[in-house]
């Protein structure tokens, strides 16, 4: 009876959101593009809320006004620090990391948090090293203010780790936390009061894939094609099906390497991690590295003509069939 009660106690304080650890003060580094907050930052905000302390959001940019007012209304944000400077127009890691370090030193945050996106991955470790602290990458769970859960070995093992550093630098796996909602009143904003460092590198250009379909990492339905698609034109079959059910389209590494689709569509250990309600793998064998990017999907469907394909071992529903007849038929019947 007593033993039960003792184990119940920590759980209770968890539910309260660390009522005792009132010293948690987290800084959320906001990623944004084209005047919009990146979807993965909303997931990182939810993770930050689980720490139980205050959350300050840091927005850096050339003219980030629209983003600042959007962030101020996000649930759990108590203050928005604004760093407005032409140097922050592009997310160059050198100036962004030194901004983060300056903000930390000025305000004494206990946690620095960003999403484990290309942006977060680029900037956060640089800042961590300058602060002489470790980083905990790609967390999928929070056990306490210093203990986190993260996948290793392409998601084939789950590690629970405790940070012994005074400042915790964390990147968050977006699919492991729901997106934060909105709050009634807007949080106050404040000038970050830090100057931009001289940039060590220079932004030249970018080339973004334009698509009307939902974003891959936040879509609730994803259809992905692999080597079995045979060429880029055949991906048209997947686009038709995707448009019918409002899904995003992704790909395996084999399909990307073969040039069927753009790199930014790759799902897997080294590409995007997705966890939609429905994941349809078409002509994908299911290598370890691909499974790392999608095996937390709620329902997995596999369409493959090889009954031995490893993808069938994780698929909730497998259809052994030629994709070139099965996919058009499926599209018609949806």
């Amino acid at each position: 009876m007593f033993a039960l009660r003792r184990t119940a106690l920590p759980a209770l304080s968890l539910a309260r959101g660390y009522a005792t650890s009132g010293n948690v003060s987290a800084l959320l580094f906001v990623e944004h593009k084209d005047n919009k907050v990146a979807a993965s930052t909303l997931n990182a905000l939810t993770a930050a809320s689980k720490l139980g302390g205050s959350i300050t959001a840091l927005v850096a940019g050339n003219a980030p006004d629209a983003v600042v007012s959007e962030v101020a209304k996000l649930s759990g944000v108590s203050k928005v620090l604004v760093a407005k400077d032409a140097a922050f127009e592009h997310t160059l890691p050198e100036s962004q990391a030194s901004l983060l370090v300056e903000a930390q030193k000025k305000h004494g945050f206990t946690h620095l948090i960003a999403s484990h996106s290309a942006f977060g991955k680029n900037v956060m470790p640089r800042a961590a090293a300058i602060l002489d602290v470790a980083q905990i990458s790609d967390i999928t769970g929070i056990e306490s203010a210093d203990t986190f859960v993260r996948p290793i070995y392409a998601g084939n093992a789950i590690a629970t780790v405790k940070s012994n550093d005074s400042i915790k630098v964390i990147t968050v796996r977006g699919t492991a936390f729901p997106a934060a909602g909105h709050q009634d009143s807007a949080a106050p904003q404040e000038d970050a009061g830090v100057s931009a460092d001289k940039d060590l590198s220079e932004y030249v250009s970018e080339h973004m894939q334009k698509s009307d379909r939902p974003e891959l990492d936040s879509a609730s339905r994803v259809i992905a094609g692999g080597r079995g698609m045979k060429n880029g034109e055949n991906f048209g079959l997947l686009y038709e099906m995707a448009d019918k059910i409002g899904a995003a389209v992704g790909a395996s590494r084999a399909a990307v390497d073969a040039g069927y689709v753009d790199n930014s569509l790759q799902i897997g250990q080294t590409g995007k991690i997705v966890a939609p309600e429905l994941y349809v793998a078409v002509g994908i064998s299911g290598a370890i590295q691909h499974l790392a990017g999608m095996k937390d999907s709620k329902t997995i469907v596999a369409i493959n003509k090889d009954p031995e394909a490893p993808i069938f071992q994780v698929a909730d529903y497998g259809l052994v069939a030629d994709l070139f007849t099965a996919v058009p038929e499926l599209t018609k019947k949806l």
Partner: protein, 257 residues
Amino acid sequence: MSSNLRILVACKRVVDYAVKIRVNAAGTAVETANVKHSMNPFDEIGTEQAIQIKEALAKSKGNAEVIVVSCGPTKSQETLRTALAMGADRAIHVETNDELQPLAVAKLLKAVVEKEKPDMVILGKQAIDDDSNQTGQMLAGLLNWPQATFASKVELSEKAMTVTREVDGGVETVKTPLPAILTTDLRLNVPRYASLPNIMKAKKKPLAKFTVADLAVDIKPRIEILKVSEPPKRQGGKLVESVDDLVDKLKNEAKVL
């Protein structure tokens, strides 16, 4: 292009990418004894890139020296020999049996950089064992050098590099002066295989050894691993007979349509 370039490439020995790993009985780590190891795939790409730069420079009467470095137990030397067989000129082994986390490796590499004074350090974007994706960025931060991460294309010019980076939604191009840090993405190149004669030749190439004490670096782990467990197993393997059957199951059983 600068006619003389020194490139340092960091390589990690990891459990081979094709191995299906197992968590140990105590739930403290992944079994690594008697498991096939090889060079981290992203580091192979890094080594290949350095050799390609060396080959390109040789055509314009320039020269590049490619130095490979690995931190870890004695067996890391196998990884270094592999890189030497691919075409690297010499190797540096920082030997330790202690656990090394990214910050510690970044500090060891910084000490090596200060000794060797390279114009460029190439690292893989992540190691496929700890999946951290940190070391290159940390090294850049410690050295206060510019960084170009997740590179899919690199062009060198006089004292600078122009790098196409893979970012969410597309690619971005940045230009950094040298010295700089580069981390490789999968699309940067296709690493070559080492030929048997080159494997033989690699055995005679110089391999310098350092201890952690030589480099005077504090490598104490900052992160404690409390537990390692298996991920939840999926109950997969259910086959459906037809497209109609599939649509029916998705609508009425899984209720995702």
